[in-house]
Amino acid sequence: MSIKFEAVIGLEVHCQLATREKLFCGCPTDFGAPINRNTCPICLGMPGVLPVLNEQAVDMAIRAGLALGCEIRERSVFSRKHYFYPDLPKGYQITQYERPILERGGLSIELEDGQRRVIGLTRIHMEEDAGKSIHMDTGATLIDLNRAGHPLIEIVSEPELRSAVEAVAYLKALHEVVRYLGICDGNMDEGSFRCDANVSVRPVGRAAFGTRTEIKNMNTFRGVQRAIDHEILRHIDVIEGGGVIVQETRLWDEAAGRTRTMRSKEDAHDYRYFPEPDLPHLIISTARIESLRATQAELPLAMRERFVRDYGLSAYDAGVLTGEPSLVAYFEAAVVAHPNPKGICNWLTSELLGRVDAAKVPTSNVSPGALARLVALIDDETINGKIAKTVFEKMLSTGMSPDAVVDADGLRQVKDGGAVELVVQQVIDANPNQVSQYRSGKLGLKGFLVGQCMKVSGGKLNPSVVNDTLDRLLGPPATGG
């Protein structure tokens, strides 16, 4: 009989804060600068330099703490973490160890069955990033210190995740939160949002944890899921085969689809942490916390609930809109201009998002006001839905306003009974067979006739006026025939 195992997973997420300057010097943080351009004596670790804390980074960390329900320490301490590596200029990283700025807290995640669960957070601390080592085929290693000294927060979860799917749900929820707060661009390709996973397994029902391994080098949500799934199965295989799991750090090999040993516990560094003497303790006042709280961005979960409640959107649509911070502002601006949230949401999600990347929506040719106006033109029956698509295409390609397109192309909807009647009569005359079949009871042919009217008119007739006119001119069809 085989034992049933459950996985125990905790995640450590490194989030690069979207500050203008590095954590301890004034160097810019822009990504993609020429190698070693964004450096100065301080982040190069020259002799004699001293760190000065970037207060914007502290504000961003506090915002994360507020959003994640953390306890914000009035007094926190920076420490030095020592190890030798060429991309670590000072031979130590300035981080927080014993007294981090944020402790405890929780993140609500949505499980596959739609249930929500709160995953506990152990701590969030501030630290500086290291540089990048670029290993060449020649065997040489080049060092790029542009990234050295970028501000990070490390968010450490409790070991409360039980599957790779849950781990990814957690990561996505966290990703969404930090992007909503505007404290991280969330770009996983550029390393702005990085995750390490601690994984162990234990027989279901046992309280004690199994031996864990730490997995690094997962660069996509999918990679995280595959790596954790792989690692769980590897643990179970080893245990079922009578072996023992060795506590170690493992690297995820995306191409090979497996993890491999990076360093064992015996090789683990003694980081020799001690309080950073060059920085005073970080004191955070209640006033500072409150002023940040007052200007705190709304979080995606709360926003989704509000969109369903206040705008009458479906949960699905609310999810699509709030999945991308840039869409939220766009949507809400459009709703202000024309209060038909459902109509605007439909046009935004099915048309605009069908043609433009979500991130580029705000800078597309169609402004929120223009989209709102388009929906307004439909709502007041200036144009019908079909014509609106034509108008939209032109707006998107030219940047023209919907009114300008309608006027220029003569697309205004025809509602006048006389004008409609002319077209309807023309269609009746041109289709005697279909008319007589309709009159003898083939009711389905009415749709054909309506279509013909629209076709002849270039789609400009008001569909309900067309319907009424057809009914009147065709007379009642035979029944029971």
Partner: protein, 504 residues
């Protein structure tokens, strides 16, 4: 005028320059000539920047002639301990690992000196990375005590103290982590001030022990030290540990003949032990305290009971921080890089070849003190004792305004005498270390000579940020004595001019 330009104290020179009695370029040239003549024996300078000094001096002279704005030290020749980064001027910290290092920026104190119009003559020898008490740990050369060239000038700022005593500069800056300004000042018969921790920016000063290091002025007189202090002290946005407390000003112009009525001078029994203090030092320091009483001060006995633990505490904290601060010297970005085939040997060889014995010893001690499983017993415990030492001073300063002690338990010892025994060397700082652990200001000034004619230093310790009290007591003492104007007979000076003579 029978005196040479190099006989003027910093303040006297400043005033003569102000009155246009002398030209900065002549002063600079006189000092450069004197360095050429005497430094081959004294060996205080690691780098002489003759060209830069003369150019700067002539700029100052032009500015003055044109009536342009001039700083408070315009034209005054200064030399710097080679621990201060000077843009474009080699800065070695007396270490092989930085033998060819040319800094890309100026330390804040260097910037302030330059802006004040100081003329920088060059860089002075020291113990490697400021680790030592005799300047014998320099990787490059042995600096001699001008009073007896078989003896140490003290350390680690021994190049600074020797240069002052030999009149090879008019003023200098040192750094003091456990006594490295005050002890060499005492051993060379000059004045040295370690300001309150946080008083002077450490930005651009190569770190030894960050929580203890402090930059300070050294000069021939208390007023000279005060003049330099006024320029270098004050908040620096680039040093998060620097203080924005107002900087004491005007002490370089203190009128002669001040009294000390109402000042309470504490004398700690722990600093006058039965053994470990030479009879001459005990005698002269006791006489100096008598002089303070004669000037009107009240002498009160105080106790600093945790003093016996200071040296041990210091060598845990200072080495721990040093092991961290020196990690950046890895041969990767600057400094000495050894030839190596892989990363580990690059580190081992670059650091192995670049660092001297004492530096390696301290890196190993500090690494051990911070290691997992030992942290609490060493670094953690040392922090607790530091708190007790700090409290000792707080309690003592409830009863007195300034504390008077010997600076060093002995006068200058012979070169080579203690190099084989690190513990003996460490004990040279026994009276200076507590002041760093407590973060307090400490001043050493000449108070007499022993039977061999070697200088003895009086140490005055003050409350945090009360350098004013040290200047006041120091000036009053100095005005009533002549120890500070005496010079080694062999150096053939024309007699020191302090500018106070006419007034007294």
């Amino acid at each position: 005028m029978s005196n040479a330009l190099t006989d003027y104290s910093l303040c006297a020179l400043r005033d003569a320059l102000d009155r246009r009695e002398v030209l900065a370029v002549d002063v600079a040239q006189a000092y450069l000539d004197r360095v050429s003549a005497h430094d081959p024996v004294i060996r205080a300078y690691l780098t002489v920047d003759a060209e830069g000094a003369l150019q700067r001096a002539s700029e100052i002279d032009s500015n003055r002639a044109a009536g342009g704005p001039l700083g408070p030290l315009a034209g005054v020749p200064i030399a710097l301990k080679d621990i201060f980064l000077t843009k474009g001027l080699r800065t070695t910290c007396a270490s092989r690992i930085l033998e060819h290092f040319v800094p890309p920026y100026d330390a804040t104190v260097v910037t302030r000196l330059r802006e004040a119009g100081a003329v920088i003559l060059g860089k002075l020898n020291m113990d490697e990375f400021a680790m030592g008490s005799s300047t014998e740990n320099s990787a490059f050369q042995q600096t001699k005590n001008p009073w007896d060239t078989t003896r140490t000038p003290g350390g680690s700022s021994g190049g600074s103290s020797a240069a002052l005593a030999a009149q090879l500069c008019a003023g200098t800056l040192g750094t003091d982590t456990g006594g490295s300004i005050r002890q060499p000042a005492a051993l060379c018969g000059v004045v040295g001030l370690k300001p309150t921790y946080g008083r002077v920016s450490r930005f651009g000063v190569i770190a030894f022990a960050s929580s203890l290091d402090q930059v300070g002025p050294m000069g021939w007189t208390v007023r000279d030290a005060a003049a330099l202090h006024e320029v270098i002290a004050g908040f620096d946005p680039q040093d998060s540990t620097s203080s924005d407390r107002p900087v004491p000003t005007g002490h370089s112009r203190t009128p002669v003949g001040g009294r000390l009525d109402g000042v309470r001078v504490g004398v700690p029994t722990e600093y006058f032990p039965e053994t470990g203090l030479t009879p001459d030092v005990r005698l002269k320091v006791t006489e100096a305290i008598g002089k303070l009483r004669a000037l009107g001060a009240e002498i009160v006995p105080v106790s600093l009971p945790h003093s016996p633990y200071a040296v041990a505490t210091y060598y845990v904290i200072a080495t721990a921080e040093a092991s961290s601060n020196l990690a950046r010297f890895d041969g990767v970005r600057y400094g000495h890089r050894a030839k190596a085939d892989d990363l580990l040997s690059l580190y081992l060889r670059s650091r192995g070849e670049g660092f001297g014995m004492e530096v390696k010893r301290r890196i190993m001690l500090g690494t051990f003190a911070l290691s997992a499983g030992y942290y609490d017993a060493y670094y953690g415990k040392a922090g607790q004792i530091q708190t007790l030492i700090r409290r000792d001073f707080e309690q003592a300063f409830e009863r007195c305004d300034v504390i008077a002690t010997p600076t060093s338990p002995s006068t200058a010892f012979r070169l080579g005498e203690r190099t084989e025994d690190p513990m003996q060397m460490y004990l040279a700082d026994i009276f200076t270390i507590s002041c760093n652990l407590a973060g307090l200001p400490g001043l050493s000034l000449p108070c007499g000579f022993d039977a061999d004619g070697l200088p003895i230093g009086l140490q005055l310790l003050g409350r945090a940020f009360d350098e004013s009290m040290l200047f006041r007591v120091g000036c009053a003492f100095e005005d009533s004595t002549d120890h500070h104007v005496r010079r080694p007979p062999s150096l053939q000076t024309g007699g020191v001019v302090t500018g106070q003579e006419a007034q007294s």
